[in-house]
Structure formats: C-alpha cells, structure tokens
Symmetry: C2
Subunit: 633 residues, 2 copies
C-alpha cells in the first residue's frame, strides 16, 4: 500500500458531522451476516466476510486470549475453534457508522459495535472495505468488557456503604479494611498476588477489587508512588494527561498536561487508598514456586510492617501470580575492562541517585536513549560537565510534536471535544493491527520530521545519530517492539544540539582510575576524565525477574516478554502479532505479566482482570492460540 | 396557593422529551425584553416583566451579594442600583426551554440561560408564568460563574506542568509546594486565611487555588479528614453520594452511596494533596484583630510543625478572613444543678469519645436530634443501656426516603441519566426561592409521611414526639432555618420504636452522684441511674467563634449566622430571605463565613471564591442589599 497523509484517526475526527447515508446500513448488513455465520459455526462463510488482507483482533471475547487473526485462514481457524462455545450474538452498531479511509486512501466504513457472548458483554470496532463489490471486514476488534453476573458495582449498582440499622458490635469500614490488609496469609490467601506496585500493579489492583477478586499488591518501596518520588527532581510524565488516566478515577480537568513526578506519586498514593487496593509496601518477594498439585504458588516475602517497623517473613499461596515489575527487566550492566579500578561513582541508570552530588564534576553517560538523556540533562542542570557516549542511533521526538501529531487525534482536549472519550481512544488504538500499524504511523512521523526539521538538523550537526525506527514508523513502533531506542525530548536534546552536553561515538575500551577510555583507533585511546559513569544501558526482558524469583526453567518456559517479532533491531522474528506474554495467558499456568505505559496499564488491566475474575469464579476459559515461545530471553 | 402533588423537579424530569413548541420562543422573547430594559436601566420596565409574586435571586452577578429580590418593588430597586454598572447582556437560552408547572399547578416555562456582564460570565434559570396574558418571570436565578480574564485553568487551559527545556538549578514541583506551605507569614502573607479545614474550608481552598488567590487553610486537627476520623465508628454520611461531590474531583462511579467516615476522611486528605491546597494541620488560631488602616487582619496562631513536632507562634496578616468552622457554633452546654457532683462521665456531644468505654454502662443522652440519635445508637451497639431525654419534638426522616423522595429528582443515578448534572441540580436548588420553598417541600414530606406511616406510628407509639417542621415542610427547611431539630434516620429510630432505647420527656431537674433526676412532679423526681451523661444539646451561632477569636464587638456587628428569619422555632423574624451571613459580604469588612452541608460547601464555595478573587484583583465589587443585622447571636 502506498503511503499517504491520511490518518484514519484524523478522518474519524473530520467525520464527526452527520453520518453519511449508507454507512450504518452497510455495517448492519455485515454484522447480520457475521452473526448468522457464527451461529452456524460456518468458518468458511465467516472467512468470506473478511478482506484478503484483514485482521481480527480479539481481546478475550472469543479466544480468552489477546490475539490477532491475520487473513482468512486464521479467521476460519478461530471460528472453528471458538464460535460454538462463545455463542456470540446480538451484534449491533452502538451509534451511526461513519465513512473514513485507510492510510492508502481506500474508503472504509467504521462502526462501533456491541455484542454479547454466553458469559459476557462485548464491544468493538469494525472497519469495512469494498472488495470485488462486496463489503468485507478489513479490521475487526472484538473485546469483552464485562462478565454476566459479575458486573462491577458502579452507578446504579454502586455499593451502599453505610449499613443502616443498628447492629451490635459492628465493625467499621476502616476496621474491615485493616483486617483485610493484615489478614493475608493468616486467615486467607489472596487469589491473585501482584508483584510490583507501580501504576501497572495499582491499576490492576483497582480492577480486581472492583471485580471482587481477593488480591494483594506488593512492592519493595515504602509508599505507593515512591517509584516516582525517588526519581530525580526534573522528572515529569512524558505522555500528556489524556493518555495517562488510571481506571475509574481520571485526572481532573485542571490536572497539568505533564505532571511532575511527585504529583503523580501523590495521585498514586491517594488512588490506592480511595480505590481500596490492598497494598503492602516495604515488601520484598524472595521466592515463588508453583505447586502443580494444588495449582497454587508458594511465595516467600519479607515485609516490613508499616506500624511496628518489624520485618517479618510471610508465606502467601496465591492461585495467580502477576509480575507487574515494570516494562524493564533486570538492568543490563556492561562490564568494561578496568571498571573495578575506577575511583569515581559508577552505576546503572536505574540506580542513579540524581545529580545533587555532582556539581562541578565530570560525568560520562554511556548510552543515548531515554534514561541517558534524562540523567544527562539533570546533571547539566545541576552544574556537572556531561559527555554522552552514543553507541547506536536514537529516535528523538519532541514531546510537543508527539503530543500534537502523534497522539492528538485520540488523546487531547480536541479529541474530547470531538467525542473521543478515553475509552474510545483506547479502543481505536487497540483496533489498529500491529502488522500494519507502521502504515498508520509513518505519515505521522514524516509530518513530525517536517515540523521539526530545523531541530533535527541541529542535532545531526552536533554529531548526534538519529533514526526514525527501522522503517520510519517512529516512536510507538520502537516502543512496542523493543521498549527502547528513543527519547521523548523534554529538553536534553537542546543541550546536545548546542554543545552544552558533548556526544561521542567511539566505543568504550576500558575504565581507568579517573577516566573512561574510548577506542578511537589510537593506542592511547580517547580519555574522558570522569568522576561519575552512568550506564544508561537498558534492561533485559521482564522474564529475567521470573528467572530470579521463580526459576530459570519457568522463565525459559514463558520466554521473552514484550516485542512483536517484527524482525527489527532488538525484536527478532518470527512475527508474533501481539506483545509477547503481556496481559494474557502464558506457557506457565498461573503466571501473568502486566505493565506497559499508563495507557496500556489502564486499558489492558481491564482484560487481564476479567481473565483472572473468570478463573476465580470457575468459568470455563479455553485459551485459543496460546502463543508459542520463540525466544527464552 | 393550594398544595398539589406536582413537583417542579419531577415535572422537569417528565419534560426530558422533545421540547414543547413555543417554550423556547417565549423564553427568548422575555430575555430580549429583559436585556433591553436593563440596557436602558429602566427599573419599571424590568419590574413589569416580573409577576406579582416573583423572586429574582442573584448570586453575585448584579449585586456582588447573595440576595433575593421579592416582588416588583425590590426588582425595581435592584435595577436602579445595579443595572448600569453591571452591563448585563447577551442573554440567551443555553438549551431548548421546557414546559413545567409550579407546585400549585400553574404552567410554567423553564429555561436555562447564559449571559455576560462587564466583568464576568453568568448562567441561570428562568421560570415564566402567564399573568394577564403576558409572560412574566415567576422566578429568575442569575449567577456569575467566571470572571473575564481570570478563567480557571481547566481543559484547554490546564497548566502545562512540566517545564520542558533544561534550566540550571530548577526547583521541582514538590520543592515549590513545600516552599509555598512554609513561606506563609515569612516571605509572604496569604490574601485569604481560612479558619477551619473540614469539607467547607477544603472546598473553598481548592477553588481559591484554582483562581490563583494566595490562600491558606488552617485546622486544629492534625490531618485533613481527621474531623471525620475522630467520630464514632458507625458514622457514615447521611446524604447520598450524588449530593456530596466536592468541586473539580467528583467521587468516582463506584463510590458508595453513603460513605463511611474514614473513607471520607481519606478522600479529604488526598483531595487536599492533589488539589494543592495549602493546609496547616495542628494549628490553633488564638486571636484575630482587624487593622482598619491597612485593611488586613492580624491573626495569631500556634502551629505544631508536622516534621519537627515543635509548636511555634505564627502571625499572619491576611486581607480576608473566612470562618469555616462548621455550621455549628460553640457548644451549648446546659448547666444543671448538681452537675459538679456527678461521678460519671459527662460531656457535650461534640466531645463524646465514642461508645468503647461504656459497654454494660448506663447512658443518659439529653436531647433528641441528630447527634443524640447517632450517639445513642452507637452506645447501644456497644452494649450500653441508653435513655434519651427528649425536650422538644424532632423531625425524623428515614435516610432512604430522604434520598429517594427528597433528593432523588435532582441527586441520583436517575437524575444523572435524565441529564441533571451536579451543576444543574445545584442551580435548580438555588433557583427555588426560600420564601416559597416550603410549597415545594410540603408535598414531598406528605409523600414521605405516607410512605413511612407504619414507621412513624411505631415511633409515636413508643412515646417519641414527632414533627414535620412548623409548617410540614420537613427536613430541608428545618435545616435552613435552624440547622437542627431533626434526625436523618439511619437506624437509631428503630431502637426507639422497639424500646431498645428508652425515650423520656420529663425535664432534667438536677444531677446527683450516680443519676440524672427528672422533674416528674413528685418530690423525689424520676431517677435515671447513669454512668454517662451526654449533652446532645446543640450549638450556638457560628459567630460565637468570631466572638472568641476576634471580639464580641465584631461578633455583634456581624450578627447571627445561619437561618432565614422564617419566624419558626429558633429562627426569629424578620424575614431575611437568605442564609444570614453565609458565603457573602458581612457587616465586618474582610470577614466571611463559609460552610453548610457538602452540597452547599461545593456550590457556594464557587461564589465566595469569586468574590474573594474579584477583591484580590482589585475589581470593583459594589455590594447591593448588604443584609442588616437583626440578631446578634
């Protein structure tokens, strides 16, 4: 398909006016045929309703998985395996369908849909194209958002709260909360133990609470939000507020666009309290082992009690274990010759304490991606002399450009004014097939490159190595495929462009007492005098945590976490079509991974929590298309 | 006017369908005539647009006051005094007008309106009736919701947050918050000092922060929310959630209908943090004196610093002083003969520590209103033997009946589904003239009495003295006129009805060592053995705090706070038409009162904050119809 400037998201916005006649009728006709063919479990008929190049992404509803069927063959397979037991029916549009266009300009009909299954209620998004005179599905997103009989207690079902009527020796709400928090491992076990209490674990914890799944979230930090508070002072969110809301309790209308770290920390701490998430801070997990007989985990933890200050060993036996330790696995720390002789401070970026001790000092930052830039800028602001050792090209996008061009059609005040709620934006995003997402992204990044041409020129003139992803598809694809290799510029790039921060490219040969020595082809090498070396050198796959906490065997069984198999840098094939192991069943029964950015934490916590709830309630959850493992780490 | 079952609020709901033809045209015609007459400052013409019995309530827009003009004469006066300088224009309906009805069945046209003035933007609600073949205003509400040039930073104007771009030696958000909190009285003075950090002070503090008025909220309790935490364990909100939202950050969709006290406490604590309200806990105000020369207050405080634990004397010099100490003034504690000889515990309800120490003990509660019932029920639940001494009749309404019949049309899931947002509900409430509010309320309470007939019969059969207000207008009028004399039943009434808690009526004659002695006409009197006596005997007027903190002269100058002058029990005339001294200018320059229930704290904090902002910015705020003082306490 040729690239154009058309953005389906933009078209959606332009179509906010009265619906084109015919779109709704076309969508309704297709849905009727789809429903009828499904009811007959007629795989070929269903497949015939899809385009040659087509994608059906299902979040739980049919497959109890997160998985994309690409093309008619995979569509037919899915129908054969899942249609009968799913009992999908009552397909309808939930509002008038609209005319839109694909990136290549082909006209599409876009329709928001609702439906139900045997066990739940669904919603989704359908995009039709014409092929050989017929309306066929180009993309279909089906999602389950609620389980019948287990609807969340909101609005008309909100809990009553007060127990009116006098009762002898009643316990109060706060006593019950306290008992809940302290009772884990004593009189009862959490059905779900979430390891990691950052925004991912917290969002999941809130969803599980609303679904009444007994769950506990644990984190090594003392208070919720400390993961943010402990970062260096200039840190703010790089994603704008509309992208960042947590479930149930969106940031208010006067919340800043880019919230400072401590403000986010406060919000997370508050959120845990008012959402009644059971949360143990100051808690380290030391080991977890699966007991196949009982189908539970035995998890050993050390918990420092918030009131007594005593550290106690606790054993918990959850049925489900969720690792929400952050997208980053374990730090990658290169071992350079002579590192032990270096007399200054050296540490991985994750252990960097901030710039306060380094005024007037010389700092060498190895690496040139997000952490490297943040740290370099903070050090410079604090009066250090900073050199960045760039080992490979970096994709740079300015925060404002990302916000306006990259996200604006879906996550902005304008989007809200156009009726694109957070929920709709999340579903639109989810409906874009990973396989062709680059087609949607490339035009955006071409626009960004045009907009910021002068900026990029200055960066390159300063010697910085730039890229826009292997195929020009920019930030989000890099994020999805490898979670690294970019920097959302909030000021550090200017320091590089104007030479305030030096960038060099020679590889590191060794460290000596007071310097980093680069290999510039000479025998002496290039000396960078240094008081501080920061290894902003990235992280391994999240299943590194599984290897440590559980076992290398389980880590290998589950395999690499994150990435699509795009066969781009750091994301080797084969193509997997979905984020490896994220928010869905893994090859290890009872082990799950949660996380991602604030948008993903928010949106995918819904589907993960529903999968956990279904299992908790003993519903049948046959997993279709469980992803095989191609890479162990 | 005869009473009927028609409820204008109910009619509004029934009119949620397509608008009747003509209503919008009629409203538009009236508004055009109104605007033209105002533009000419033609008092008589404006008055002619009002019905014989009519009410024009203005919240700031014309009068820089909160005041109701009743009848054509007062309307004309207002126009003469305010029309020219107000410059009100651009009157329009903001949505189609609807047909409705007054309580007496007269047809009305209801229209939501917007307008602007020289300095601000307004909204309101108009009710037209036909009189002599002409459309005239029966009720008109005009409110100012925003000042031009000082719009709040929300949505498209939300603060950016991050300061992108590197800056040497930047201060972080948390450092700035800290500096703000600690700087009061040192490098700068708060323009507004709010004494009292319950929900009223907190809501006002949040509004002032959003309007960028330098303000500090102080409270004697340690943490925000402690005013709730310290109450006895069974306490929950008696008003349902839809009524209770704070500004900017409504309770989420899964918040309970009646929130337990500790949950509210948590919410308030976090609200202060995320709304960035500068709040000093553990702070007592010892004195405040007005310096007429500088137009500021000199306020002496004792503050126990949260980190050091040291108590320090602080002097602050705010321009504006707001007493938000709660609707209750100082406790009324009766002094009974022999009280000093009583060997058990005795205290006012406000000092009651809760039931924990009284299992198996005998408790006498003097008083039979809200506090008395809460305390009696809590004591009973904890195994005490309780007798209530009822000295006058009490209005009882069951919480569910109040919620459904009393509030449901405006504050409920159903109301929301009908498009009655919190803002609209507040404005509808505000548009009902106090003078005739009883006409709207009486039918509701007749319905409640019918609904709960069996319940009321059982209560009376147990000897309890019931009322429905002097004129049958029930809870809200009692609340507005005297803030007492009722109990929203959440369980205590059942204990009285079934005799678990005894109610007696003889007046207290004296206390002896181990009993309360009632005057039953005999020489011995009626002995109530007691280990505990709780004086649930109410509070004085809020200006009692002013007398203590400032001076009796200032308290007298300002006069009684609260009440309408309805000439009903505890609310002597003459008729004042508005809550005395609440949320509006008082006879003491620079002194203001804020408070009320959660609905009033939320809604009226808007108008109080705008008045304070206007003064802070040096806008001209000529106060029309400043209320004279008829009662000093």
């Amino acid at each position: 398909m040729s690239q154009t400037l058309d953005h389906p998201e933009v078209d959606l916005r332009e179509q906010a006016g009265p619906p084109a006649p015919g779109a709704s009728e076309r969508a309704a006709a297709w849905l009727a045929a789809f429903e009828a063919a499904l009811a007959r479990a007629d795989a070929d008929a269903v497949a015939g309703l899809f385009a040659t190049d087509s994608y059906w992404r299902d979040l739980i509803a049919f497959t109890w998985n997160i998985t994309t069927a690409e093309g008619r063959g995979q569509v037919a397979e899915r129908v054969r395996a899942t249609a009968e037991r799913t009992g999908a029916r009552s397909f309808a549009t939930s509002e008038p369908a609209t005319d839109a266009a694909a990136p290549d300009g082909r006209p599409t009909v876009e329709a928001w849909i609702t439906f139900e299954t045997e066990v739940g209620r669904g919603k989704g998004l359908l995009r039709l194209v014409e092929e050989d005179g017929e309306d066929v599905a180009w993309t279909l997103l089906t999602t389950l958002h609620e389980l019948k009989g287990f609807e969340e207690h909101q609005d008309g079902r909100r809990p009553r709260g007060a127990e009116h009527g006098a009762q002898r020796d009643r316990t109060s709400w706060s006593e019950r909360r306290e008992a809940s928090l302290e009772g884990w491992g004593q009189d009862r076990q959490p059905h779900v133990l979430v390891i990691g209490g950052g925004q991912g674990g917290i969002a999941l914890g809130a969803r599980l609470r609303q679904l009444e799944v007994p769950a506990l979230v644990v984190d090594a930090h003392e208070r919720p939000g400390d993961q943010w508070r402990g970062r260096y002072k200039s840190l703010c969110l790089h994603d704008p507020v509309w992208y960042d809301h947590l479930p149930y309790l969106p940031f208010p209308r006067n919340w800043p666009v880019f919230a400072p770290k401590d403000k986010i920390g406060d919000w997370l701490e508050m959120y845990v309290r008012v959402m009644e998430v059971d949360y143990w801070g100051s808690t380290r997990v030391t080991s977890a082992a699966r007991d196949e007989e009982t189908g539970t985990w035995e998890v050993h933890l050390e918990r420092r009690h918030p009131e007594t200050g005593e550290t106690e060993d606790v054993v918990l036996r959850p049925t489900e274990l969720v690792l929400a330790t952050g997208m980053s696995g374990k730090p990658n720390v290169p071992t350079f010759p002579g590192a032990e002789s270096f007399r200054g401070d050296q540490h991985h970026s994750s252990a960097h304490p901030g710039p306060d001790a380094y005024r007037g000092k010389k700092a060498v930052v190895v690496g040139a991606n997000n952490s490297a830039h943040d740290i370099a800028a903070a050090l410079w602001e604090h009066g250090a002399e900073v050199t960045v050792v760039q080992r490979s090209s970096t994709h740079i996008v300015r925060s404002d450009s990302l916000m306006e061009v990259g996200l604006g059609a879906l996550y902005s005040e304008e989007a809200l004014a156009n009726g694109v709620t957070t929920e709709k934006a999340d579903l639109v995003f989810a409906s874009l097939p990973y396989k062709i997402m680059h087609e949607f992204q490339i035009p955006l990044y071409q626009e960004i490159e045009r907009r910021d041409r002068a900026f990029y020129d200055r960066l390159e003139a300063a010697g910085f190595w730039l890229d826009f992803g292997d195929d020009g598809s920019g930030l989000f694809m890099k994020y999805l495929s490898r979670g690294s290799g970019y920097y959302i510029d909030v000021g550090a790039s200017e320091l590089i462009a104007d030479g305030s921060v030096t960038v060099v490219h020679e590889p590191v040969r060794e460290l000596v007492e007071d310097a980093v020595v680069l290999d510039d082809g000479t025998s002496d090498g290039k000396r960078l005098p240094a008081d501080l070396v920061v290894y902003a050198t990235g992280y391994g796959s999240m299943n590194g945590w599984a290897a440590d906490l559980i076992s290398p065997e389980v880590a290998d069984r589950v395999g690499r976490v994150w990435g699509l198999g795009s066969d781009t840098t750091k994301d080797p094939g084969p193509w997997e079509g979905e984020q490896r192991n994220m928010w869905k069943p893994t090859q290890q029964e009872g082990l799950w991974f949660h996380g991602g950015n604030l948008h993903q934490s928010r949106h995918y916590s819904l589907y993960l929590s529903l999968q956990l709830k279904a299992r908790y309630e003993g519903l049948d959850t046959p997993v279709h298309e469980l992803a095989p493992v191609h890479h162990t780490r």
